[in-house]
């Protein structure tokens, strides 16, 4: 499984990329593989304020609907508008064009998230 080193991870299989002006969130390669072919994505409204661990989106494959949790508290600033027409992008590029939403974190240094190696360890346990 691909778990890039420059990202932070939630145990619930979301990734967070910290950037100068906020952060981007998606689901991990492991998550997309376990879900298999994604056929529907429900994204949050921009401007919504969320708590860490709150359900903010839903990703559905033929198999099941899976909740997506906010890895940090903050405000949703953008969503990936291409996903509703091409949800399979999540499977093809989970860390690239398949991102879900952008968030402005409340805290500059998020806590409770895992490094790439710690996240990988949770998968093999």
């Amino acid at each position: 499984m691909n778990t890039p080193n420059d990202l932070l991870y939630a145990k619930s299989h979301e990734w967070l990329r910290l950037e100068k002006d906020g952060a981007t969130v998606g689901i991990t390669d492991h998550a997309q593989s376990a879900l298999s072919d994604v056929v529907f994505v429900e994204l949050p409204k921009t401007g919504r304020k969320v708590k860490a661990g709150e359900v903010v989106a839903t990703v559905e494959s033929v198999k099941a609907a899976s909740d997506i949790y906010a890895p940090v508290a903050g405000e949703i600033t953008a969503v990936n508008a291409t996903l509703p027409n091409d949800p399979g992008m999540i499977n093809r590029e989970p860390y690239g064009q398949g991102w879900l939403f952008r968030i402005q974190p409340e805290q500059p240094n998020p806590t409770g998230l895992l490094s790439s190696s710690d996240y990988t360890a949770t998968l093999t346990r």
């Binding site: 298999s36 072919d37 056929v39 529907f40 429900e42 839903t58 559905e60 494959s61 033929v62 198999k63 099941a64 609907a65 509703p84 027409n85």
Partner: protein, 346 residues
């Protein structure tokens, strides 16, 4: 792999959508060894089954099979199953893995001392070869000149030298075969079919595509669309309940009454729209803002590109084409009533 009625079963091999598409367009191979195979033999076998099953096994000729139910005293479905007549006083029942042990109990209790019910979980192997290329693939593996069975019929033959019962039945809505054999031959036949079907685009298929394929064809799943609390008439499967024969079976009187007076619940098909969340098992269903029932099985249809579902609703049930809604995560999603077979019949 997921645990399923005491078995570990693969949800997918290469990917659910690829497996679904392969079965619709070429061929798919399913390991159905978890399905219970119960052989019923001995003097009085037919009479015993006649007194237990909702469809009349006396209608079957040698080498013929049909869909049937084990019912309780209320007419509810203890299990749905396939009954094949192998010969005089010799039948094969193929039952759900989750009901296998209970079915054996029901059969033995309701049977006759001379009749043997043989087949515990894990004692047999089963494969389903499904899809338009199935016949061509299977013909390469059976002795030359073998006449494969017609729909709903079965033959005993050899597949690469190994003895098996081959039935032209399945759970996908495609042409195809179900192969019943011993546990030693099962894996060998599996490998032989995989190899023979490779150039046709055959894929091994898991539980995931088995479920999406069966639902597109409107086939019920026991535990969701059928249960001891749901009768075949409510599920829209009255065709497989034979009330014209003399012999009683459990729940017959209740089913006769329901047929005469009408049922209070009825299974309907429901179609969603593209780019809307798909209906799933357990979602409430609304007509004019009032809840009328619940989704029993739902899936985003890989073939149609929108959600499809079976729902059990109160009668009078809305008719085909009528608008209704189902609820997903607190939101009402528009849907329409549709025939329960979502794909055209093949």
């Amino acid at each position: 792999m997921i645990p399923f009625a005491g078995w570990n079963l693969p949800v997918e091999y290469t990917g659910l959508l690829a497996e679904h598409k392969a079965t619709r367009q070429a061929a798919g191979l399913f390991d159905i060894s978890h399905m219970g195979q119960i052989r019923v033999r001995g003097c009085g076998a037919l009479a015993a089954l006649e007194s237990l099953l909702a469809n009349d096994p006396a209608k079957l000729r040698d080498g013929e099979g049909h869909y049937s139910f084990l019912t309780n005293e209320k007419g509810g479905v203890l299990d749905d199953l396939y009954v094949y007549r192998l010969g005089s006083e010799d039948f094969l029942l193929v039952v759900n893995a989750s009901r296998h042990k209970e079915d054996l109990q029901t059969l033995v209790q309701g049977g006759h001392p001379n009749v043997k019910f043989i087949g515990e979980p894990g004692q047999s192997a089963g494969l389903a070869l499904q899809g338009p290329k199935s016949e061509g693939i299977l013909l390469r593996l059976v002795p030359e000149g073998t006449l494969l069975p017609a729909k709903n019929h079965l033959i005993q033959t050899k597949i690469q030298g190994m003895t098996a019962w081959v039935a032209r039945t399945g759970y996908t809505g495609e042409d195809g075969f179900e192969i019943f054999t011993d546990t030693e031959s099962g894996p060998k036949i599996w490998n032989a079919i995989l190899e023979a079907g490779k150039k046709d685009g055959l894929l091994p298929c898991g539980l995931g595509s088995r479920d999406s394929l069966r639902l597109e064809s409107g086939f019920p799943l026991h535990g969701q669309d059928l249960s001891p609390e749901i009768t075949p008439l409510e599920a829209g499967l009255g065709f497989f309940v034979d009330l014209s024969r003399p012999r009683p079976f459990p729940g017959r009187a209740q089913l006769e009454k329901a047929k005469k007076d009408g049922v209070s619940r009825s299974s309907i098909g429901l179609v969603g729209q593209p780019n809307q969340p798909p209906p799933r098992h357990g979602y409430p269903v609304f007509l004019d803002g009032k809840q009328i029932g619940v989704v029993t099985s739902g899936v985003p249809s890989p073939t149609l590109g929108h959600g499809i579902a079976l729902a059990l609703v109160t009668t009078p049930a809305p008719v085909c084409g009528q608008d209704l809604e189902f609820e997903v995560r607190g939101r009402r999603i528009p849907a329409k009533v549709s025939p329960r077979r979502f794909l055209p019949k093949k």
